[in-house]
Symmetry: C2
Subunit: 333 residues, 2 copies
Amino acid sequence: MNNMRLTLKSRPEGRLGPEHFDRVEEDLGPLADGKARIRVLYVSLDPAMRGWVSASTDSYLPPVPLGDTMRSLGVGVVEDSKSDAYKPGDWVTGMTGWTQFLDVGPGELSVVPQVASLEDYIGILGLPGATAWYGLVVEGEAKEGQTLCVTGAAGSVGSLVGQIGKALGLRVIGIAGTQEKCDWLVNDLSFDAALNYRTDDLDKGLKEFAPGGIDLHFENVGGDPFNAALKNMAPFGRMIFCGFISVYNGEATATPPEMTAIVRKRLTLKGYVMTDHFDKFPAIFQELGKLMMEGKLKYRLDVTTGLENAPTAFNKLFDGTNKGKLAVKVADL
Amino acid sequence: MNNMRLTLKSRPEGRLGPEHFDRVEEDLGPLADGKARIRVLYVSLDPAMRGWVSASTDSYLPPVPLGDTMRSLGVGVVEDSKSDAYKPGDWVTGMTGWTQFLDVGPGELSVVPQVASLEDYIGILGLPGATAWYGLVVEGEAKEGQTLCVTGAAGSVGSLVGQIGKALGLRVIGIAGTQEKCDWLVNDLSFDAALNYRTDDLDKGLKEFAPGGIDLHFENVGGDPFNAALKNMAPFGRMIFCGFISVYNGEATATPPEMTAIVRKRLTLKGYVMTDHFDKFPAIFQELGKLMMEGKLKYRLDVTTGLENAPTAFNKLFDGTNKGKLAVKVADL
């Protein structure tokens, strides 16, 4: 059986591109006892992956070694199994990597129930959904009636943060980077308001929306949108840090944030990494499943076809040109 | 009876100076029923006062109105009383302001027991002591065996943070601005190590002292020392924000902090203002009193004599030329 996978050839200084990967074609050989062979259907493209290819050992996961298959989340189907943990036709999720096929042992990937669409398992019922719920509800301690601001609001996590916030009775303002995204947030996702950080005066817009300040802020971006939110926090507010996509490529840093606000307003800032909390996923997916059935969570995927296109598609995250959750379709079910 | 007080004439752009105050000489007249007349003995000079004279209404206390007596903490003695709450000879602490005398009603100032020296009530048993204990133990959740870093380590709060940390069994490194201060921290206060931010490589020094990272950081200064600490935090560490003296005068901002560390290391950053927690002072002073009796808290005052010298003396805080807690002696007991 022939496989193709992309391995990390070199570490990018700035943006990731096809030049940083080798394309490996190989024959997989027979399946070993105790293993299952997975055909990958989608791989997920997430901002955090930019960190995984840097040499820094100062992060929550070790760097992807040079020569290894690129690490990524994905969903697949069991093609063949010599393990009791998997049976042919099972859907599986987890760290598949950028490969068409992989052989796994028990516990390496999770079998998911076929009660939602396959695509839901890289979105609402995948890492983005879990990240949004955990950050907003557990770390953020979201409460009905609060004012919530979210940056990267049209992204895979941000769009869910805002919708979960609305479902829980918060007032929600989103910050995004195009008018189309802002319109989508307000018209389709029922955000109370949206600001375009490329064209709107964020400070003015936030003051108008939240004259008493932001109670809870969810940060995906960093830079100027973060600074504007910090300036407009309510006393004793919470700022939850999910990501800082604006600086992942080592591009010019923004104006320094006005850190004294943390003291003056007695703020709590908290960073988290969802891969620390895999044990919480089942309970979170129960909650998200309820909201899905009530029609309260809309989601859109931005799909590129063909694993070989993953490195190029990845940069849509940093251009802000993706419309919804970015994924690569590796094969049909 | 003649009084002299300093009232706020104008708001400083940069540093505070004598030019921003009017000297008011007045006859106090007879004491009203229900009031006590306080003779102020010391007024405290604290970094937070720089914020109190700015026009911003975005802080935890309203700005001092132009024409009002400058707000400050102080200690005094009851000179005369027509109130059941105070009797002549009582020592009192609280917001006296920059005045030689003031008349107060019940609850405006606190009567303190005369079991320590008068000077202790503007230091260990005053706002600095309460601030140090609350920030380190309550907000910081300090635990035996942790590695603690404190900036402004030779200051009125920082020197107590480090000593309380040592008493609770933490390893303590202090960051200060002169070699004399660093020597004092290590030789007299038993800090495990000290770094001079003007001459030492902070990143290198912190890595040597805490190869596994800083568990708990106490911030008084901001700027480069903060950035170095952020870079060297341990996963799941806590950073407690008491103050940012480096930016209070609106001087040039430092290099932006590497905020992605908050996510990568899942940090919690928390700001607090001790004037929110007056109810906790008695319990905290019990604890601090015990440590004082065990000889575990050393403290030094830097006293300027004469209320009229308060505006000039204040800037020693920002030059870093004060040696210990800065105070102005207004009168002898």
